[in-house]
Amino acid sequence: MTNILKIQHLNYSIPYSVTLLEDVSFELQSGEFLGILGHNGAGKTTLMDLLMGYRNKTSGVLEVFGENPHDIERQNRNKIVFLSQEVSLKGNLTIGDFLKFHASFFSDYDLNEQLHLMQVFNLKLNMKIGSLSTGQQKKVQVVAGLSSKPKLILIDEITAVMDPETRSIFFIEIERVREEGVAVILATNIAEDLVERCDRILFIADKKSSIHRPQEISALFNLKKAA
């Protein structure tokens, strides 16, 4: 098991404004599935942004594959794939054009994997991305992401726009790549996506975070109702 992610006492504040995350700490090994839960505005997307290097931490330790994600000259970016509902693709491209563009950035891009996923998700290369529904566009993202052969997959609420069948297929594929040693972090509002799938839950509330077992999800939300 390789140490993929290391976070210790991570704090993030918007400059001259509010603090969004306080004292977040956890580690992630290869093949592990970590779920991030929290109510709306808790800071799930912010944490994902920090992991991807979109924002810079205010203080603390944050290392992904041993590097600060915000460094200008990161070396290991090709090991990470980011699937997010906030990601949109260029509408006038065909799926084939986009996958060719995406593949040009990843030296380990696997065309056989791409072919398999295209069949599984029932997509065709000559479809125009702009003509696809939101859910279908997320499928295209998933095809591109998993075909890149990453070591870490960061997923930010992408399953929210998928129909139940697609969501099921998606998690089957995620489970398959986990067996190959890929680590997964899924930030979501849908607790059911994490039960019986993830190894641990990172629960964010009031800027603080805590690690829980998947079985404790219901209890977490029950506690919030009681409060």
Binding site: I14, P15, Y16, S17, V18, M52, G53, Y54, R55, N56, H70, I72, E73, R74, R77, N78, I80, V81, F82, S84, E86, V87, S88, L89, K90, G91, N92, L93, D97, K100, F101, H102, S104, F105, F106, G130
Partner: protein
């Protein structure tokens, strides 16, 4: 980077070659065939709009938020590229897809420069410089748009503070004003270098000076346009590189985006002092005598209207009839400066009146005698006195064969126009370009001169060598009373038999 760029090229290559081909072939068609201006305008607007749309369609333009048409910024940031590589890819993609807009400019440069902006056509070297500067401007605008795209979402978290925003706007204004002032000083100083060289040359004998001056003048005359214009290229390059570094800094450091909204009076006050104090010192030190009037102390004194100094220099033996390299003698400078006192003084001291400005000046000031300079100086009193000295009111200026009446229309002084009309000048005289004084007045949008000329009997139906009536030049200006007035003179009213 090349393989990524090849893929982007594949997306847009058909639009790219189609637009370039259309711009070039349409430009050639317009050059060799003259047809409806309305159709020309429609084609130009269509092609320009297509050039801009091809950018939106084919370039990798990041969108700050989810957008059906473009890659979101988050997707592009997730690619395994360094920040510099990503920025280079985006800038190259935008610049490549805007190249048809540059080809558009060159294909229709005559229409854009001459017909729309009423400028002179560019020479080959000016075209090349403009192409390079346009490309650099495209790069800079790509960098600016990326900068806004990175900074603006961050501003969502900042509470609206109108005072801070006003302060930021005022600060930007102060900085931009200082930059413009420094640029004015910089380009002005290039002219000063030439004056210093000529002062040095005076130490030698007359023959040596003539020979040396001829060489130096030749070199500077040929280099001057390059100095002024070619310097834009490295300046643009430097600015583009600076903006690129600022963009990286903003991207790496969130705090920079928020810092612009801070009101730090001490920091900003020190910056303003540091920028403006040298500027004020430079402006007070720099000799602001126009180049046309440089070359001697007497000319400088005349420019400054320092009559005490003028009298002292003349008393010390300054040469009253010595012309500078533009052909200006002291009395010509006084007349051009509308300084009646200095003019009469120099006349009384025996200054000759037969000087003519030479063609080393721009074409509109070449071949001007004392009368033409008096008109350009806009002093009716001096004009009357010069005519009283025996000057011919019909005398034409330079190779362009411009009359005094046309000059008066150009400067839009109705009083002087009416004066020449009363003097019996030839109203329908045409200059080298085939235009009358009415063409000049229309081009300058000078309503009173237009009325004075037409009521005096000038022919509004004269076409110049470009085949245009005076009315055609007035149409280009919006809400023009001249256009309304001349239309009635040029064409029959609708419905009239």
């Amino acid at each position: 980077m090349i393989k990524h760029f090849k893929i982007i090229y594949e997306w847009g290559k058909s639009d790219f070659w189609l637009l370039n081909g259309l711009c070039i072939s349409s430009g050639l068609l317009f050059h060799f065939f003259n047809f409806s201006e309305f159709l020309q305008g429609a084609v130009l607007i269509f092609l320009f709009a297509k050039c801009l749309l091809s950018l939106k369609h084919n370039a990798v333009l990041p969108a700050a938020v989810s957008d059906q048409d473009q890659f979101s910024w988050k997707y592009l940031q997730s690619l395994p590229l360094t920040k510099k590589q990503l920025l280079e890819l985006l800038i190259c993609s935008s610049t490549f897809n805007l190249l048809p807009a540059v080809v558009f400019f060159f294909s229709f440069q005559k229409i854009i420069l001459v017909d729309v902006f009423l400028l002179e056509p560019f020479t080959i070297s000016e075209l090349i410089i403009t192409a390079i500067c346009l490309l650099l401007c495209l790069v800079i605008s790509s960098i600016w748009s990326l900068r806004h795209m990175i900074s603006n979402p961050r501003m969502q978290f900042v509470k609206k503070d109108k005072k801070n925003q006003m302060y930021a706007t005022f600060r930007s204004f102060v900085v931009i004003l200082a930059v413009i002032a420094y640029l004015v000083l910089f380009f002005r100083s290039i002219d000063d270098i030439q004056v210093m060289v000529f002062d040095f040359v005076k130490k030698f004998s007359l023959e040596d000076r003539k020979a040396f001056a001829a060489i130096v003048v030749g070199i500077f005359q040929n280099l001057k346009p390059f100095f002024s214009i070619w310097l834009l290229v490295p300046l643009c390059l430097l600015y583009a590189y600076y903006q690129f570094r600022v963009l990286l800094k903003i991207w790496m450091n969130e705090k920079v985006s928020y810092r612009s909204l801070e009101r730090n009076y001490k920091r900003d006050g020190l910056w303003a002092i540091g920028i403006y104090v040298p500027l004020i010192l430079l402006f007070s030190w720099v000799d602001n005598t126009p180049t046309m009037l440089s070359g001697s102390e007497l000319l400088k004194a005349i420019h400054k209207r320092d009559h005490v100094w003028i009298e002292k220099l003349v008393a010390d033996g300054a040469d009253l009839n010595k012309a500078n390299r533009f052909g200006y003698t002291p009395i010509m400078a006084a007349v051009h400066n509308a300084d009646f006192q200095a003019y009469r003084f120099l006349l009384s001291k025996g200054a000759k009146l037969d000087g003519v400005t030479n063609k080393d000046n721009d074409k509109y000031h070449a071949g001007m005698n004392l009368l033409h300079l008096a008109v350009d100086g806009q002093s009716l009193k001096i004009i009357e006195d010069v005519l009283a000295q025996g000057f011919n009111v019909h005398e034409l200026q330079g190779e362009e064969k411009i009359s005094a009446l046309q000059l008066a229309s150009y400067i839009c002084k109705p009083v002087i126009v009416e004066y020449f009309i009363k003097k019996g000048v030839n109203l329908n005289h045409v200059s080298k370009d085939g235009g009358t004084a009415l063409h000049v007045a229309a081009r300058k949008d000078c309503f009173q001169a237009t009325v004075a000329l037409t009521e005096a009997g000038i022919d509004p139906l004269v076409k110049d060598k470009a085949g245009k009536f005076a009315f055609d030049y007035s149409r280009k200006k919006s809400n023009s009373g001249v256009a309304f007035y001349l239309e009635r003179k040029t064409r029959a009213p609708a419905g009239k038999n």
